[in-house]
C-alpha cells in the first residue's frame, strides 16, 4: 500500500513570496490533515478535511494560509505572503476517518520550508 505522498520535499523562498505544497493521501482515506512542525517542536494541526469539507481550521492563520481539497482526494496548502516564522516542516497525514471510526493517522515525509 502506497503511503502519503508530499511534494516538494524541500523549498527555499524569500519572505513575502508565495509557496504551495501538495499532498496525495492514502487511497480511500477520507480524512486529511495538514500540520506545521517547527524545529524542536511537535506537530501543530493547521487544518483537517473530511472528504472535501473543512472540519477544523481553528489554528490556520487565514490571513496568509489557505488550503483546499478538491474532489476529496489531493490537497494543496498555500502560504501567501510567507514570513520568516513560517520556516517549518509541513506534514500531511490521512486516516480512514468518520466512515469507519478509524482515525489512525499516517504521515507523509513532509515538506521542509525555509523562508529567508
Amino acid at each position: 500500500e502506497a503511503g502519503v505522498a508530499q511534494s516538494p520535499r524541500y523549498k527555499i523562498i524569500e519572505k513575502r513570496q508565495s509557496v504551495a505544497f501538495w499532498c496525495n493521501p492514502i487511497s480511500g482515506h477520507a480524512t486529511l490533515y495538514w500540520y506545521q512542525q517547527i524545529l524542536g517542536q511537535g506537530p501543530k494541526l493547521l487544518i483537517q478535511f473530511q472528504n472535501n469539507g473543512v472540519v477544523d481550521d481553528s489554528q490556520l492563520p487565514k490571513d496568509r494560509f489557505s488550503a483546499e481539497r478538491l474532489k476529496g482526494v489531493d490537497s494543496t496548502l498555500k502560504i501567501q505572503p510567507a514570513k520568516l516564522e513560517d520556516s517549518a516542516v509541513y506534514l500531511c497525514a490521512s486516516s480512514l476517518g468518520d466512515l469507519t471510526g478509524d482515525y489512525e493517522q499516517y504521515f507523509g515525509p513532509g515538506t521542509r520550508l525555509t523562508v529567508t
Partner: protein
C-alpha cells in the same frame, strides 16, 4: 502553558538499556493517549495508543497512563540503535487518533 509537555532531551542510553519517556498534560478531557516515533526527516509513525488510564504492552514497548496525575509514560526495553529517534506523545478528547495535541518530542539516542 502547553496542553501536552515533554522534556526535549536528548536522552542518551547504552544499547540494551531501558528507555523511559514521560509526558504531562493539562486537559482533563483527554481520553486517548498516543506515542509516535519520528526518525530524522521522516513523518511521525504511530507506535501505540491507550484509552483512559492503564497499561498497554506491545513487544518491547509499554505505555502507561495515569489520569489522576495527568502523566503518560513510554518504556522501551532492550533498546537498540534503531530506536534512536524523536518520540512524540499526543492526546485527544475524541476518537483515538483524531484531533491530536502533540507534545514537543523527546530525542533519544541509543549508543552501540
Amino acid at each position: 502553558q502547553k496542553e501536552v509537555e515533554q522534556d526535549p532531551g536528548p536522552l542518551s542510553v547504552p544499547e540494551g538499556a531501558i528507555v523511559s519517556l514521560n509526558c504531562t498534560y493539562s486537559n482533563s478531557a483527554f481520553q486517548y493517549f498516543m506515542w509516535y516515533r519520528q526518525y530524522s526527516r521522516k513523518g511521525p509513525e504511530l507506535l501505540m495508543y491507550t484509552y483512559s488510564s492503564g497499561n498497554k504492552e506491545d513487544g518491547r514497548f509499554t505505555a502507561q497512563v495515569d489520569k489522576s496525575s495527568k502523566y503518560i509514560s513510554l518504556f522501551i526495553r532492550d533498546s537498540q540503535p534503531s530506536d534512536s529517534a524523536t518520540y512524540l506523545c499526543a492526546s485527544s478528547e475524541e476518537a483515538a487518533g483524531n484531533k491530536l495535541t502533540f507534545g514537543g518530542g523527546t530525542r533519544v539516542l541509543v549508543k552501540p
